[in-house]
């Protein structure tokens, strides 16, 4: 199971990343993350909503109403151009973190 802190830290990049794949809404995003992480990444109740709201406020995503068959209209989110740029920046940072971590794992294994 991935720790809460790490989940929280990566939420921004993950949400933007998922929305880059296509428009979505809260429950679908949670489902998608669960699938992608094999259930190892779990969002606690209500954790996602304030993040979505904040991202919308920052102009990285925008919401719209969408009517699906036989159900109530749902509020969908779509990534904006600004959001895409932010995602690129996030991606770069995570890559760097990943590179550092990789290097460190390498180091440990050599010493071992």
């Amino acid at each position: 199971m991935i720790s809460k802190n790490l989940t929280a830290a990566s939420t921004r990049a993950i949400i933007l990343g998922i929305l880059k794949q296509g428009n979505s809404y809260g429950y679908l995003i949670i489902k998608k993350i669960r699938e992608l992480s094999d259930g190892k990444m779990q969002y606690s109740d209500g954790m996602l909503y304030p993040v979505l709201h904040r991202l919308e406020k920052e102009g990285l995503i925008k919401s719209f109403w969408k009517m699906e068959k036989e159900s109530k209209p749902r509020k969908y989110y779509e990534i904006t151009a600004k959001g895409k740029k932010a995602l690129a920046a996030e991606q770069e940072q995570w890559d760097q973190v990943n590179a550092v971590l990789q290097a460190i794992w390498q180091l440990r294994s050599t010493q071992a």
């Binding site: 209500g46 304030p50 159900s71 749902r74």
Partner: protein, 866 residues
């Protein structure tokens, strides 16, 4: 757009409502959508299980970050807190009954006084404002520039100016003349009554707004023998048939018959013009052609300007109108004053409206403010004095997270609650005392509860009083430090104590100011009423010569002198309070032809000086022989001074075409208000011009009046007997001063009462605080007198400081006020020392009483309480 599908399972509505209630509105759409979708997915297997899971999710979402921001519920909390503050204030008020009683009674008295004064002031400032054209209605005045350079302003305007304004001034809409007030006998059938009214020209009812109930205001005064009467006179004359009064005949003064052409509504109480009939001025002018001269002023004159006319342009144009038509024989410029301003600004000094009743309005407004401030200070002082008892409460509240603002609101809520309760009681007090207040002031004040402005005013005063009273306690108490508050000690810091003492000193300074002012006003009134006016005004009865009495001076005089209670009788053209005629045309030896001196002229019959006990300074009295006396004049000392002769007796003097000599100089006597200096006067012997009998009586006044009435009725049976006392006439000149003086007295007493109430509160508190100290001192052998001194000393010092500040201010202000009188009492230190001593005595008594109680308390009781 939202459409539910009936086939899809729905989550429990109550849970949804709960979610919508607590969830942040910005998130609720996402949350609700997701939970509903999840519920639908779950319900596919089990609806019941899905509902339970939905409930679990909703409850888990009831957490910070999802719950709506507290800011959104702030108004609710604020309202609740306000309610809570009022509840606490109510509890405190009922717990400390004595303190509440003191506060509420003080504020009630203060507010009631303030309300009464404001009602009086409101009535004063609303006088004459009811006329529809009030904003463009002006009265014409004439400045008479004297040889000495003094300017005398008169309302008497040459009548031809009316026609000039009508013909040559397109800016003027209507203009009318109005005569002096007169009292005439009205007869309709057997109904006879004396009524007061005036002469006026045709446009009178166009200029002023006295609505007509019958007849046409535009034409009611066009016929010479017409009369417009008030509703009350119509009711008196015609009873229930008054609405049909128009066209009916009325006989006036048992002579000419006049036809009623209009019935107008009674002039309202806010009208300075009060009359029950208006006769056409033309009727008077026909009989008195002298008024048609540009050189004589016979009437008052009023005009309305057309809308949007520049009054200053008219003022400039009209300025020299009289001078132009008199070929600049004298310098008498014309001046326009807005009629609505005249009631308050009726005194003229050097041709400029300098004041009048507005001075009383200002004085009373200041008093109202003072009284309310004193009452508010009481509240502040008592509230801050009780700080230590409230300190723990404040400390605990602060520990519990109360903000300073919240504590401030609490104290304001307390003071507002007190102010509100006091206002309700004050309204009751005012309501009950209004009849007495009206009797005292001669007004007809009443509450009009349908008037929105009244409610807004009351609300405004309540809020201002509440905020003012609560301001200092709110600032001081909320600033306490939490730790020391919890200890309940150390609150009485020097700043708070000095502030409290400062406020108490200020209160006493105001009281000393008001008391000394009241004493000076009373002394001046006393001076006026008892001043030697130059003649003996006591035991003199005045009877107007009317009907068959007129022209029968000898017969009437002889009949009166037969009455044992009648000592002397004389006849004059007016009474010494209104001469009725004056001239600027008098000429004497050596007078500079260009000089203008306005001189009063009094026509008298025999025994004038003897009856009124007027001293002759030099020369001789008339010898009661018309042939000899008709060319002799007596003058007063003022005129003698203006003429500049060392001995004026024997010098030539010419008045109204009669050439004669000055036969004597009489001692000055007062003719008008003591505000004004004595005017120059010529007394001439002319029995035919007299209109009043002056009868000096002796012995029983009742018998004298009964016999005089019998003698008068015998000669003049058609007219009811009328008389008045000369000293009452003098006194009536100062009615407004008397009324205001009584008001000042009352409110000065109120202010000292309030100050003492405050002092009682402070000293009680101080005695309570020091009860243990007193107990220990007593146990150690202190005497009661020593303890009283200990407790009273600081307050005595406050009163002393107040005196030092108040006395000079009061002296300066009262000297300023006295200067408005031409004849005034001397201002001496007595008034100030006496007011200081009185305040000191009352203060000492109040504090002493409470201190005595404290000092005589059994120390066992005070010391065992721990």
């Amino acid at each position: 757009m939202k459409k539910d599908n009936v086939n899809t399972p729905q989550p429990p509505q109550i849970l949804l409502k709960f979610l919508r209630w607590f969830c942040d509105p910005k998130l609720v759409e996402d949350v609700e959508g997701d939970l509903t979708e999840l519920h639908q997915t779950r319900a596919a297997s089990s609806k019941r299980k899905a509902d339970w899971m939905f409930a679990r999710d909703v409850i888990l979402l009831f957490r910070p970050g999802i719950i709506r921001n507290l800011q959104f519920s702030a108004p609710f909390i604020r309202v609740y807190m306000l309610f809570y503050h009022f509840k606490t204030a109510l509890r405190l008020a009922t717990r400390h009954k004595g303190y509440t009683l003191m506060n509420v009674s003080g504020l009630t008295v203060g507010l009631a006084s303030c309300l009464l004064i404001l009602m009086w002031v409101n009535d004063e400032i609303s006088v004459d404002k009811f006329h529809e054209k009030s904003d463009r209605l002006y009265q014409v005045f004439r400045d008479m520039i004297q040889a000495s350079g003094d300017i005398e302003t008169t309302e008497a305007i040459p009548q031809p100016l009316e026609l000039e304004l009508k013909n040559s001034y397109p800016e003027v809409e209507h203009v009318c003349i109005l005569g002096w007030e007169m009292e005439l006998l009205f007869r309709s059938g057997d109904n006879t009554l004396y009524e007061k009214g005036r002469y006026a020209s045709a446009d009178f009812f166009q200029v002023f707004s006295f609505p007509f109930l019958a007849g046409d205001p535009a034409t009611s005064l066009t016929d010479v023998h017409s009369v417009a009467i008030s509703r009350r006179l119509a009711e008196k004359l015609f009873d229930d048939a008054w609405p049909e009064a128009v066209g009916k005949p009325i006989r006036i003064n048992e002579g000419q018959e006049f036809k009623v052409t209009g019935v107008f509504e009674n002039p309202p109480v806010t009208s300075s013009l009060d009359f029950d009939f208006i006769l056409p001025a033309q009727e008077f002018i026909q009989r008195n052609p002298w008024v048609e001269s540009w050189f004589n002023g016979g009437f008052r004159m009023y005009l309305t300007l057309k809308e949007d006319v520049d009054v200053n342009a008219v003022k400039t144009r009209i300025h020299q109108e009289v001078n132009k038509h008199t070929d600049y024989a004298a310098d008498e410029p014309i001046y326009l004053q807005r009629f609505a301003d005249h009631y308050l600004y009726s005194d003229f000094q050097q041709g400029v409206a300098s004041g009048g009743r507005i001075q009383y309005v200002r004085i009373l407004l200041v008093i109202a403010f003072f009284v309310l401030v004193i009452a508010c200070i009481n509240f502040m002082n008592l509230a801050t004095a009780r700080t230590s008892t409230r300190a723990r409460e404040i400390g605990v509240k602060k520990v519990m997270g109360a903000q300073r603002a919240s504590l401030r609101i609490q104290f304001f809520a307390e003071s507002l609650l007190h102010a509100f309760v006091s206002m309700v009681l004050a309204l009751l007090v005012v309501y009950l005392s209004l009849p007495y207040f009206n009797a005292l002031t001669g007004k007809m004040l009443r509450f009009d509860f349908t008037d929105q402005k009244l409610w807004m005013g009351l609300m405004g005063i309540t809020i201002v009083t509440g905020l003012l009273s609560g301001s200092y306690p709110a600032l001081l108490l909320s600033s306490f430090k939490t730790i020391s508050s919890l200890k309940g000690t150390g609150q009485q810091d020097l700043g708070a104590t000095s502030m409290r003492h400062g406020l108490a000193t200020f209160q006493f300074a105001l009281s000393i100011f008001l008391i000394s002012g009241t004493m000076v006003v009373a002394a001046q009134m006393d001076y006026i009423f008892n001043k030697d006016v130059g003649l003996d005004k006591r035991n003199v009865i005045m009877v107007p010569l009317e009907g068959d009495l007129f022209g029968k001076n000898v017969v009437y005089g002889t009949a009166l002198k037969k009455i044992p209670e009648v000592k002397d009788v004389t006849f004059t053209s007016g009474n010494p309070l209104s001469f009725g005629s004056s001239t600027s045309e008098a000429k004497w030896e050596g007078k500079n032809p260009g000089d203008v001196v306005e001189i009063n002229v009094l026509s008298v019959d025999s025994d004038f000086l003897q009856t009124l006990d007027i001293d002759l300074v030099t020369g001789e009295d008339f010898v009661d022989n018309f042939k000899t006396d008709s060319t002799r004049f007596l003058i007063n000392e003022v005129l003698a001074g203006i003429m500049g002769f060392t001995d004026p007796v024997g010098k030539r003097l010419s008045v109204w075409g009669t050439d004669g000599v000055i036969h004597g100089v009489v001692r000055n006597f007062h003719m008008s208000s003591l505000y004004d200096p004595i005017q120059p006067l010529i007394i001439r012997f002319n029995p035919r011009s007299t209109g009043s009998a002056f009868i000096r009586i002796q012995g029983s006044a009742q018998d004298a009046i009964a016999r005089i009435e019998a003698a008068t009725r015998e000669l003049n049976p058609a007219f009811p007997f009328r008389y008045s006392f000369l000293d009452h006439e003098y006194a009536s000149r100062y009615e407004r001063e008397k009324a205001v003086s009584s008001l000042v007295d009352i409110f000065a007493i109120v202010s000292i009462f309030l100050s003492c109430l405050g002092l009682l509160g402070l000293s009680s508190y101080s005695a309570d605080q020091r009860s243990k100290e007193i107990g220990i001192r007593k146990v150690l052998g202190a005497r009661v007198s020593g303890l009283i001194l200990l407790l009273s000393r600081s307050y005595a010092r406050l009163i002393l400081v107040a005196f030092v500040f108040a006395a000079p201010v009061s002296y300066f202000y009262m000297q300023h006020w006295l200067n408005t009188f031409a004849y005034r009492t001397d201002l001496n230190a007595f008034y100030f020392v006496a007011s200081g001593l009185l305040t000191f005595a009352l203060g000492a008594f109040t504090v002493g009483l409470r201190s005595y109680q404290a000092a005589t308390a059994n120390p066992v009781k005070t010391l065992k309480e721990e």
